[in-house]
């Protein structure tokens, strides 16, 4: 862990600080204050991302540092979509996700600017990464609802626990098409860059595993509906566990070396 004594680092720490304040305001049920701080933190994240873009002179989605900056930026718009369209109001958790993703960007990941290698200079690169990160945010929110459902107390009224299971379902409905799009865009890009749309790369295998877990989730829910909510929620949690493995372990570990090692 190290503190970044740079303009980039300062912008990240400001964003983290405002997200923390927003989270505390949400916990204290100061809705208007929390929302105002949430929006301000979004602007701070946008400034962080924009500064990085200006500094590296290309869309910054090349490595974990830049991808986590993007995720910190995307949280606010997706939170609004979840509230207004999906009717899954859990902005406090969204603020917490923002803090969790910006923390390693601010204190752990290497921020050394690198030029884009030839393989990454493709118009499919940005949509591929962006689709995946947006999907991961939806799946993280679904995992949170799944935890609420699994650890619900027996004396809680039925609609509340059923509500958590239903919210999990809605969020996974929102995320799976983005996961599919990310997988397909990655395959097409791989074809243009390396000649094969599937190279059996560890990252590709784990990405397929993520997609399969959520396909299994839908098949199970299609068969049993809401009769077995804890199993539904467990599958959703397993999917998120595979996402964490794919995003962190595969990128950072020396066990898995392949075409995605530049990340």
């Amino acid at each position: 862990m190290e503190i970044k004594y740079t303009t980039q680092g300062l912008l990240i720490y400001i964003a983290i600080g405002i997200y923390i304040l927003a989270f505390l305001a949400a916990c204290l049920r100061l809705k208007k204050t929390a929302h105002a701080l949430f929006f301000t933190a979004f602007l701070a994240s946008a400034a962080t991302f924009g500064y990085r873009w200006y500094y590296v002179k290309h869309l910054p989605l090349q490595n974990l540092f830049e991808v986590f900056l993007f995720t910190g930026l995307a949280i606010y718009p997706l939170s609004l979509i979840s509230q207004k369209i999906l009717k899954t109001a859990d902005s406090a958790f969204d603020m917490l996700i923002a803090v969790i993703v910006l923390f390693p960007a601010g204190f752990v990941f290497d921020a050394v600017a690198k030029n884009l290698p030839p393989a990454l200079q493709s118009p499919l690169f940005a949509p591929h990464v962006a689709a995946y990160m947006l999907a991961y945010i939806f799946m993280a929110k679904a995992a949170f609802q799944a935890v609420l459902q699994i650890f619900s107390f027996k004396n809680k009224p039925q609609p509340i626990t059923a509500d958590a299971e239903h919210k999990t379902y809605l969020l996974i409905c929102a995320g799976l098409p983005l996961l599919t799009l990310g997988l397909i865009l990655g395959s097409v890009w791989g074809k243009f860059a390396w000649g094969n749309f599937w190279n059996w790369d560890p990252k590709e295998m784990w990405s397929l595993a993520i997609w399969l877990v959520y396909v299994i989730y839908f098949h199970f829910r299609f068969m049993y509906g809401r009769e077995k909510p804890k199993i539904n929620s467990s599958i959703a949690l397993a999917g998120f566990a595979v996402i964490v493995i794919t995003l962190l372990w595969v990128n950072l570990s020396k066990i898995f070396i392949g075409l995605h090692s530049y990340a």
């Binding site: 609609p159 809605l170 860059a193 784990w206 397929l208 399969l212």
Partner: protein, 342 residues
């Protein structure tokens, strides 16, 4: 079946790409693929009967199409198609061409060759490729690798004007100027360095090393001549220019006529005669040859159709149907709950 594929995917991730390719093309897994295909057909047929809309059947159909296209594009698929249709197409090969030469011989990798025997066999193409020119385009700035015999290491982005403190015992390095094609000229009695626009590539960076003790030292670091040493503190510096793109200017010659002319870059392959030609390898030092990967396009457009149908099916099913109806359902449940409370 999906659970089995999940387990195999995780297993494939651990064994590495080469072993995973062998595993997923092995006979037992081929049997799995055939079983999966049959079950997908059954699911497609059943979903068409049970569900009125076509989104779910479309998803199953897309998966079937992707699997069929993938099989057609595999080595086994090529062998089967060659036998059935009398074709003579190979799945993939490599071709190395020197600048100014014609080449029509490709190297095809053998599957599971016996030990100590060649792993490639050759094939003559019905046309030849001529490499008119090969060049590497570098970014203006690259990376400096700095290290000491005590195994301290630094990787510095080469941005002119930036100064990087190393540590208390090792001083700092300032980037003074970056050259894409370093040349010298003699002018007014002095030897001057300049960045040349002439053909060629000689990436270099001019740095100032500020040691802990002693005066600053200025040196040119050349990417083609590694490991210059700053004697005062015994540090080594390498300049690694970052490659922006690779260009292979190719002519395709058939029956002594030029039938195609293209510049192949990464992400911009050439498509000719049922094959795609990709930039694969190159002469990093003198830029006198290029190696292209040739990959058959059999099954490719079938897979692309499957991808499009899968996207349409999943977005249609989940975003256009499930989300609106499920969100409405949860809103009406909440208002029912409020009314019951009242």
């Amino acid at each position: 079946m999906f659970l089995a594929l999940f387990c195999m995917s995780v297993y494939g991730a651990f064994i590495g790409p080469y072993e995973a390719a062998i595993f997923f093309n092995s006979i037992p897994v081929t049997a799995y693929w055939c079983t999966l295909l049959i079950l997908l057909f059954a699911a497609y047929a059943r979903s068409r009967k049970v569900i009125r809309s076509i989104d779910l059947p479309l998803i199953y159909l897309a998966c079937i199409i992707i699997l069929l296209g993938s099989f057609a594009g595999s080595v086994r698929g090529h062998n089967l198609i060659n036998r059935l249709l009398g074709h003579d197409k190979f799945r993939s090969a490599e071709i190395t061409i020197n600048v100014g030469q014609n080449q029509n011989e490709v190297l095809i990798r053998k599957d599971n060759p016996p030990p100590q025997l060649p792993t490639f066999h050759t094939r003559q193409l019905p046309f030849a490729l001529r490499l008119r020119n090969f060049r590497i385009e570098f970014y203006k700035s690259g990376r400096l690798l700095v290290w000491t015999p005590e195994k301290q290491k630094w990787q510095l982005a080469v941005w002119p004007g930036y100064e990087y403190p190393l540590d208390l015992n090792t001083g700092s390095i300032k980037i003074l100027k970056v050259y894409k094609n370093f040349r010298t000229k003699y002018e007014s009695g002095k030897t001057l360095a300049y960045d040349s626009n002439e053909p060629g590539s000689n990436p270099a960076v001019w740095i100032r090393y500020n040691p802990v003790k002693g005066p600053p030292v200025r040196k040119f670091i050349f990417s083609k001549f590694p490991n210059p040493v700053f004697e005062t503190d015994n540090i080594y510096v390498d300049y690694i220019p970052d490659i922006k793109d690779l260009y292979s200017d190719i002519l395709i010659i058939k029956d002594d006529e030029i039938v195609a002319k293209e510049t192949i870059e990464v992400n911009k392959p050439l498509h000719f005669n049922g094959y795609h030609f990709y930039q694969y390898d190159y002469d990093a030092i003198n830029q006198r040859f290029t190696t292209l990967a040739m990959v058959s396009d059999t099954g490719l457009y079938i897979v692309y159709c499957g991808f499009i149908l899968l996207c349409i099916g999943i977005f249609w099913r989940l975003w256009l149907k499930e989300l609106p109806s499920s969100s409405q359902h949860s809103t009406s449940e909440k208002s029912r709950g409020k009314n019951n409370g009242n």
